[in-house]
């Protein structure tokens, strides 16, 4: 697999796994409108991932399909960031995970619209509209929970503090990034990091939340094929039918 294919797959994987997590939350929301909104965001992520899987399959041109890519890889062949694997512990974790990722994805896609790869650029433009809405929504939840009640503030702060360890990876660049950045295809994540920090700080200030000040954790990253304990279970369920009936088409 070349670097372009890996990059495409990685961006797809983060949205796919996040979409899987959001789908799992259906019928568990705090009220019906919110339940439906979360499914909606999940559908956007899966739609975006599907477009990229199709593109990757086209690049591979060896008969692999988008579904093969989504459903039939081994764990170390998925390249999503670890943040999106984190379970739906409660609504605070779900919204904190969403906000931290939405801010990242917003600036990431904004930069990707300038990619020399035309498919990336076109998909980024299309998806940016959806992500703008996702970010507006998760930002509102930072305000409501952060500046709502004492309980909601504490729950959200706790979730943010815990998930913070996974945010470093969002800006980690491996050889794939470095190679494609030189070619004008990939996004400069150092720049995205600055924008991300500024935006997160601005929203946290308004929401009366603290920016965690934590050292960098010792992690091997999802972008290099290393995952959390949670990933195997996501795949076990997601791949169940394809594993059990390898000859069947769905």
């Amino acid at each position: 697999m070349n670097n372009l294919e890996k990059y495409s797959l990685r961006v797809a994987d983060s949205s796919w796994i996040l979409g899987c997590r959001l789908a799992e939350y259906s019928s568990n929301g705090p009220f019906l409108e919110e339940d439906l909104a979360i499914t909606n965001v999940g559908l956007d992520h899966i739609g975006f991932a599907e477009s990229l899987y199709k593109y990757t399959a086209e690049l591979l041109a060896d008969g692999t399909t988008a579904d093969d890519l989504a459903f039939k890889r081994a764990e170390h062949e998925y390249y999503n960031v670890q943040l999106v694997e984190y379970p739906n512990e409660d609504f605070a974790y779900i919204m904190a995970r969403q906000f931290l990722f939405d801010v990242f994805q917003y600036y990431f896609l904004e930069a990707l619209t300038d990619s020399k790869d035309e498919t990336f650029s076109a998909l980024a433009k299309k998806s940016l509209k959806e992500v703008t809405y996702h970010l507006r929504r998760s930002t509102q939840w930072m305000y409501r929970l952060g500046d709502g009640t004492e309980e909601s503030h504490d729950r959200l702060q706790k979730a943010i503090n815990h998930l913070w360890m996974y945010t470093d990876e969002l800006f980690y660049m491996n050889d794939v990034d470095k190679d494609l950045l030189e070619k004008g295809i990939a996004v400069d994540l150092a720049k995205v990091h600055l924008e991300w920090k500024e935006k997160v700080k601005e929203v946290f200030d308004e929401a009366t939340l603290e920016m965690p000040d934590l050292p960098k954790f010792s992690l091997k990253y999802g972008k290099d094929g290393f995952h959390t304990d949670y990933m195997g279970y996501i795949l076990t369920e997601m791949q169940y039918l394809n594993n059990k009936y390898p000859d069947a088409k769905w």
């Binding site: 259906s26 568990n28 705090p30 339940d35 559908l43 609504f91 929970l145 009936y245 069947a248």
Partner: protein, 311 residues
């Protein structure tokens, strides 16, 4: 005397097929009947998210997963329209949910069965949504305006659900031997519970008589059930599946004669002793209880902002 006159005017409107609107006078029993039926309908949509939700993490393709998510989202949306329609009768959504949790309000009994294989996603769409449509198409002409309008919107989406369910079944029926067996097994398990969705025989139905007189219900349970049977048996045959009833007989009038429903099971599940009654309610209550702090936070924040805006 006054009430007698109002009652006559009310019945005249019903007979003339003029819709009753929220601010119009209506007999208390009509209101109560609607509150019961519309809230039960709303709860059914919402509880109905669970058996399909059971396969969200295991949907086998990108397309299947997106369709399932969108479908469950539609069901929740139907629940919302219906809660809104029911609220026009002067009861809040919180109250409806409380009655559900206390066991005072019911939901469609069919959702008290488990969804055991991927083929159940086909069978639920094809049979359960198929049965619901027969009922809902009839309810588009119901006498209460907000309920009728909600039904018109809902019917459009339900017919899409029914088609996608049938598509899953047809695909499995034409697939590998295991897929085919899965499809037949799902039909076996969902057939009778779908027929039960139309309710008891008209002679045993507690609310049927008043509901018919007031135009809330326009066709009887047995008539609607027969329409569903006549539509569904040929659809099963078309994809090479067989309904689990050895006594099916095609009558000269084109209608199908079938065995009688196991009414003991029907009443038992309604009373709360089906395979998933406890699970469904427990799940709904858990999500609602765990969401309490979120709803409180949203309300507290909205209040702060309102005070700031005034101040």
């Amino acid at each position: 005397m006054e009430d007698q006159k109002k009652m006559e005017e009310f019945q005249a409107k019903i007979d003339a097929r003029i819709k009753i609107e929220p601010k119009d006078w209506m007999p208390e029993k009509y209101r109560q009947n609607l509150i019961r039926q519309i809230s039960q309908h709303a709860h059914s949509e919402v509880i109905g998210m669970q058996p399909e939700g059971n396969w969200l993490t295991r949907a086998p393709s990108l397309r299947a997963k997106k369709i399932l998510m969108a479908k469950i989202q539609d069901e929740g949306g139907h629940g919302l329209y219906l809660y809104c329609a029911a609220e026009t009768l002067g009861v809040s959504r919180d109250q409806f949910i409380q009655w559900l949790h206390e066991g005072k309000a019911k939901y469609a009994s069919v959702f008290n069965y488990p969804s055991l294989t991927w083929a159940d996603m086909g069978a639920i769409g094809w049979l359960v949504d198929g049965a619901a449509i027969v009922n809902q198409v009839s309810l588009q002409r119901t006498s209460y305006g907000p309920y009728s309008r909600a039904m018109i919107r809902i019917c459009k989406e339900e017919s899409f659900h029914q088609r996608q369910g049938y598509e899953i079944m047809a695909h499995l029926a034409n697939g590998t031997p295991e897929q085919r067996a899965m499809a037949q097994d799902a039909l076996n398990r969902w057939w009778w519970s779908s027929l039960m969705m139309f309710g008891p025989h008209d002679s045993d139905s507690a609310h049927s008589k008043d509901s018919m007189k007031w135009g809330i219900k326009l066709e009887t349970n047995d008539d609607l059930r027969q329409q569903f049977i006549d539509k569904t048996i040929p659809q099963a045959e078309l994809i090479g599946l067989k309904v689990p009833d050895d006594n099916v007989e095609l009558l000269p009038n084109g209608s199908y004669k079938t065995s009688d429903i196991d009414w003991e099971e029907f009443w038992n599940v309604i009373k709360g002793y089906g395979p998933c009654n406890t699970k469904r309610l427990k799940h709904h209550k858990k999500a609602h209880d765990e969401g309490a702090w979120v709803r409180e936070a949203a309300a507290a924040y909205a209040e702060k902002k309102a005070v700031e805006a005034v101040g």
